[in-house]
Symmetry: none
Subunit: 226 residues, 2 copies
DNA sequence: CCCGGCTTTGAGGTGGTTCTGAGAATCAGT
DNA sequence: ACTGATTCTCAGAACCACCTCAAAGCCGGG
């Protein structure tokens, strides 16, 4: 599908129910070189944020279907670390505090100045790390668009959807330990088997060699670093 | 104060020329568990930020000697990445944009709500903690994210879950004496053996050497502090 | 509809971890 | 130095996390 997503432009997700404002934001940010998706309610926003990768999300505090704050909480609970800029109504301080505690990286009070919005988005975007096309795993590279791995000897091994998702999760934050429970709830939501993660780690190791994914007994799995 | 406040609590640097406000901030944040240094002008602020390590800096936009914005720019140019929260005067939008472009991670408009300041500082601090964090233990370092210890000779020793929990407990408040009963009730809730803590101290000493954890006979164990 | 790959499930084995207890060593006070 | 209390050492057993892998279920393409 999105073959041409080689486009280097940073991706934004705007969750805003006011169509006019949303359109304005999209136009504005597009003009600044961003690729913008718009979700008009929390439901769609949540879905988009889970299924695609964004550099920054703009989330209106109040949204239909699922409230903006709730969307953010669910995303963070699922391990999504995408930078979030929360848009709040004027004057409600506790709202902002709630947003920050829910995992927002910043917020902006409506109505806001255009300059400022752009500056904030830029600031958050600068902090954005991943979203690379080729992510190093072990001595090879995970190709995000082809869903395969290029090994140091040049061989390419294809990954199944689940294998890819698991490896991506690990690879995006190299060095970090990913608790097995977190991996399980994020990747295998409605699965009963306790050892589903283990099994896929096993599959990956069989394909990539045993040196890539490290087990941290009692905690989880880790990639890269050391 | 006491020289042992080394790695104990998160460290903040407040650059603020209004003595009253500075004092208020220091008291407030100290009450929230932070260790706070105050610089009354840009000169000193710059010097402190360069010579010591802080988790978060609060910088007043306007400062004597060297302007706050200028301080931040110089720090960033020198490669200092410490999170910076800029305090700006009311209503000056371009000021804030300048601040963010200069490398500020966030800003706050004066006058501000106390809750909000704390929430912002917490948010920034959390971001800081996510990036590794090494806590000194003896002559080595406890790596909080990797759950292991880096010894002075470069060797790394892995810790089991319990070993890690115990060592972290001791390491987080260096110099403090941790009563053995307190350790036992917190770490080994449902365990019968009276000497379970002793055993794990033994395991740790075997891995880290005998000089790291000190026994305070009749009371408990202690780490760091001479 | 049938085939082949993907996903899920669970059983069995392995080895590190945790708990337990008991004797040896050490310490503080007399 | 003696003595009782405290701490250290350590090994064995129970436990549990993890690995391996086969088989059954699922789903989509031919």
């Amino acid at each position: 599908m999105t073959q041409d997503s080689q486009a280097e432009s940073p991706r934004l997700l705007v969750m805003e129910d006011d169509g006019e404002l949303a359109g304005m934001l999209a136009t504005l940010l597009h003009g600044k070189g961003y690729s913008v998706d718009v979700a008009e309610d929390g439901q769609r926003g949540l879905h988009l944020a889970l299924s695609r990768r964004y550099n920054v999300m703009l989330i209106d505090r109040r949204l239909p279907a699922i409230d903006g704050l709730e969307v953010l909480i669910r995303l963070r609970r699922r391990g999504v670390t995408t930078r979030a800029l929360m848009l709040t109504a004027l004057g409600d301080v506790s709202d902002r505090v709630d947003g920050l505690n829910a995992g927002a990286d910043d917020y902006l009070v409506k109505p806001f100045e255009v300059d400022e919005l752009v500056a904030r988005v830029r600031a958050l975007d600068r902090r954005f790390l991943d979203e690379a096309q080729l992510v190093p795993v072990g001595d090879g590279f995970l190709d995000m668009s082809l869903h395969d791995v290029e090994l140091p000897d040049g061989r390419r091994v294809a990954l199944s959807r689940r294998e890819f998702e698991l490896l991506r999760m690990l690879a995006v934050r190299p060095g970090a330990i990913h608790p097995r429970d977190q991996l399980r709830s994020r990747l295998f939501e409605d699965t009963n088997a306790e050892s589903i993660v283990d099994t896929y780690v096993y599959y990956l190791r069989r394909k990539l060699g045993t040196g890539v994914i490290r087990t941290v007994r009692g905690f989880g799995y880790q990639i890269g670093a050391l």
